[in-house]
Amino acid sequence: MLNDLDISAIIVTIKLASLSTAILILIGTPLAWWLSQTRIKFKVIIEAFIALPLILPPTVLGFYLLLTLGPNGPIGEFLESLGGSSIAFTFSGLVVGSVIYSLPFVVQPLQNSFSSVGRQSMEVAATLGASKIDCFFTVAVPLARSGFITAAVLGFAHTIGEFGVVLMIGGNIPGETGVLSIAIYDHVETMEYGKAHWLSAGLLIMSFLMLIFVYVFNRHFSIMRYKD
């Protein structure tokens, strides 16, 4: 069935997806809020930039990340000048790559649900004595909760499924950067179809269950928020 490498790949993958999702929600929330409220002219450029990983071949993204994060890249050099080391081929590097790669999957649902919260609810809260930050946490966030669920699930699932980026900047180091999608690829390479099946079917079922959860949850809230 599963060997030690597979187990470690599962652990690394879940660790990576959880950490990336947490970081994505932290970065994506203010970014999505800002995008939903701002009327600045170059907003489309920022939106297009965030959406880039949706259509860019992951290997292209991985390649540029490798150049940037590697020992000779600007970020790699910066980290080394601080006495650290380049984060290419490390777990941290994978997290950075995953965050960038999954950003649109988190920002877009959040931005959509923040937009549908609308200006009026925020204005009502202001007339009731709530400051801007208070309005945000007590009105915008609860009203956008379905967006948060969608964003978190999509961000998590998408991070689990990435292949090209992790291959380029991870290097498949067991226990460190060896993730599930690469483990499956390795099994197929060595003709271990049975093992590939275990992992693949597991991912398939899990993805399906997560999507069912998103749909059920959002339907539940669209009923809760039904307006006559």
Binding site: A126, T127, G129, A130, D134, M224
Partner: protein, 353 residues
């Protein structure tokens, strides 16, 4: 007193609001759609920002040249057109949203507001289970819990059908009678205006064209309301006595006594009377052989032609101002002129409260 001098520039629209209104009673802001009524309320609430200007409500200055108090620091109660309750909270949650943020609200104060709007039966309901009228009641209660210095109501009845309107109007009457704070009430409904307004502010294309006690604004010839085909006069009266033989009641007002069908209002209750200009006719001598019960001596104050065939006449009877709409022919044959003493016959009277 509320002093306002605000300029708001929006895309394709400019509001120039300079006025003072008294700090008691309902001031209705009346005007056609797109005239800037809502923008005016939003400006007072601080939801629209004007770069310079002055706004003082009671003893609080909310805007003076460089000092703009943000909305959440203004003590206002704002009721939006569609109630705008928070759907993620139930009725109690909506009300607690304010209670949590205001310090020093006494239980008596909260209870008095719940009683005023009859909130108790609704408190555990979800907002989606409420009717339009119930939503507005909760929204008004929520706005009042802020212990506001001014209550702003933006067309609170416009989204409701007639049945729901009737349901909520008594609550608005009790706000009117029991609240000590000024209320600014935006509407384009003549019915709501004549029933609720103590003061009337007319707004057109972003400009305040008239502002004063309701009957003054209704009857001034330099303002549009006195020229419409449904021009009216409004004044207050008191139920004085009843005539049980004929089932009538006598209403006393400054200019005399109206006799109207008894509608069972208790003696001494205050009522508001509406007289349509087209229900008032003028005679030179007091008619005695007429079916009309309400005849008063009056003096012609001013008259203007209304279209080709009619004239609008403004009369005073012991200080009460009233409009009469006549044909030009009648005015000619009666030789009506300013200062002439005449008798007016009022064919019908509407009691508004």
């Amino acid at each position: 007193m509320i002093e306002c001098k605000l300029n708001i520039q929006l895309e394709g629209f400019k509001l120039d609001a300079k006025f003072t209104i008294p700090d008691k009673g309902i001031t209705v802001v009346f005007g056609p759609s797109g005239s800037g009524k809502t923008t005016l309320l939003r400006a007072i609430a601080g939801l629209e920002k004007s770069d310079t200007g002055f706004l003082k409500v009671g003893d609080s200055i909310w805007q003076s040249d460089h000092n703009f108090v943000p909305t959440h620091k203004r003590q206002i109660g704002y009721v939006f057109q569609d109630a705008a309750l928070f759907d993620h909270l139930n009725v109690e949650g909506n009300l607690n949203y304010v209670i949590k943020r205001k310090t020093g609200l006494t239980k008596e104060f909260i209870d008095s507001i719940y009683t005023l709007l009859d909130i108790k039966p609704l408190i555990n309901r979800s907002t989606v289970q409420l009717s339009g009228g119930e939503k507005q009641r909760v929204a008004i209660a929520r706005a009042l819990l802020t212990n506001p210095k001014i209550l702003l109501l933006d067309e609170p009845l416009s989204a409701l059908d007639i049945k729901r309107k009737k349901e909520i109007l008594p609550y608005l009457d009790s706000l009117h009678n029991q609240l000590d704070i000024p209320i600014l009430y935006v509407t384009h409904s003549q019915d709501e205006t004549s029933r609720l307004a103590d003061h009337l502010m007319l707004i057109e294309d972003g400009k305040i064209i008239g502002n004063g006690p309701i009957n003054e604004i209704l009857t001034r010839f330099d303002l549009p309301l006195s020229h419409s085909s449904d021009a009216i006069s409004i004044f207050d009266a008191r139920v004085m006595s009843r005539d049980t033989d004929f089932n009538l009641m006598h209403l006393e007002f400054k200019g005399g006594q109206f006799i109207v069908p008894d509608n069972k209002l208790p003696i001494e209750s205050l009522v508001r009377i509406r007289v349509a200009a087209r229900d008032v006719s003028i005679t030179k001598k007091k008619q005695t052989d007429t079916s009309i019960l309400n005849i008063f001596p009056a003096v012609v104050e001013e008259m203007v032609p209304e279209g080709d065939a009619q004239v609008m006449v403004r009369l005073t009877l012991k200080g009460v101002v009233l409009l009469a709409c006549l044909t030009r022919k009648s005015a000619y044959s009666l030789k009506l002129d300013q200062g002439l003493s005449v008798f007016i016959q009022v064919k019908s009277v509407a009691i508004l409260s």
